[in-house]
Symmetry: C2
Subunit: 197 residues, 2 copies
């Protein structure tokens, strides 16, 4: 059985529903998942964009917000359009990369996404992340540990790895040498992991 | 029961599987469909692109070709990567816009997509379109009828209408005031048409 790598950015809109539903879908299919936080910013810069394409291309952006609202509605996931988009996700990515092996990682990821896309909170704010850490039973001091050079290197390495895998957006799912892009391809990726080669 | 408007460009890669499967899906759900050929070129130009984004952004393009291959494979649809991409779809669009009410329209659309994406034929070539017309039982002279100022106006009006609907890519599906973008959203669009308001 292959695993599904879930590549996401905490600022990425369509990563939000994917992050909330992936564990249940993967578990019911008995497919292991690996959380792969990275930063879209450097990848967008490589494509010549200094902002989210949803801000650069208004028709795409207008569509996305309505689409996300519909998707969250149909999944029963709370949604409030963030007052700032995209939010700076560097600190959250450092935390997720630093504590990749911790049992509280998945819940931390989901709660951070909820903070951004359901509660309209600024996930670059230390106090906001401290409150997320409190929910998952961790002290605020965890944030200091994630500020080490090692943590920064991990985020950079993850982003470079994403680029080398051909990832150009989020969420993306990697199964062996296959790449799937977009929230609605999650089921396809999980099914691919169950294929016999 | 609402209808689903299927907005597509004959050069658009993901429009190909959508065009081949929409009629069966809509029919089995008892949802009427309306074929809406238009041209992506002017819409891309409005976004500052003089080429397909799949050519401008190589990572996106590489992904798309592999993804399309997988999608066609899983649907049992033939696929050969066109040796030229994107192909000029103006003449095919004029034909589809001119003969929107003809009973052979749907088959013409499917056969034109097959010519482009299964048989690697140049759909801007009059002889290629003549052979497609032959398949659907129509004489080559139909092409001349589609070259009238009226036919050109129809294509331009369709493209302007697409823009005013917020369409930024293809395939797109319009159900009332709702827009859905992408081949894999076809089922969602059809389900939306069956909702009671």
């Amino acid at each position: 059985m292959k695993q599904v790598e879930f590549w996401f950015d905490f600022a990425s809109t369509y990563s939000y529903p994917a992050a909330l539903r992936i564990e249940k879908i993967a578990r019911s299919s008995n497919v292991p998942i690996v959380w792969r936080p990275f930063l879209l910013g450097p990848i967008f810069k490589g494509q010549g964009w200094n902002d989210s394409p949803f801000n650069i291309y208004p028709a795409k952006g207008n569509y996305m917000w309505r689409d996300l609202e519909r998707i969250c509605g149909s999944l029963g996931i709370p949604f409030r359009k963030p007052s700032t988009f995209p939010r700076n996700s560097v600190l959250a990515a450092r935390l997720a990369c630093s504590f990749a092996e911790e049992p509280w990682l998945a819940e931390f990821i989901r709660e951070t996404f909820l903070a951004n896309f359901a509660h309209d909170r600024d996930i670059s704010d230390r106090a906001v992340l401290a409150s997320v850490l409190e929910i998952v039973g961790q002290p605020e001091s965890v944030i200091d540990l994630s500020q080490s050079p090692d943590a920064k290197t991990k985020v950079r390495a993850a982003t470079e790895r994403a680029m080398s895998l051909g990832i150009f957006g989020a969420p993306s799912f990697v199964v062996g040498s296959e790449l799937f892009w977009g929230n609605e391809r999650l089921e396809t990726a999980v099914a691919w992991a169950r294929r016999r080669d």
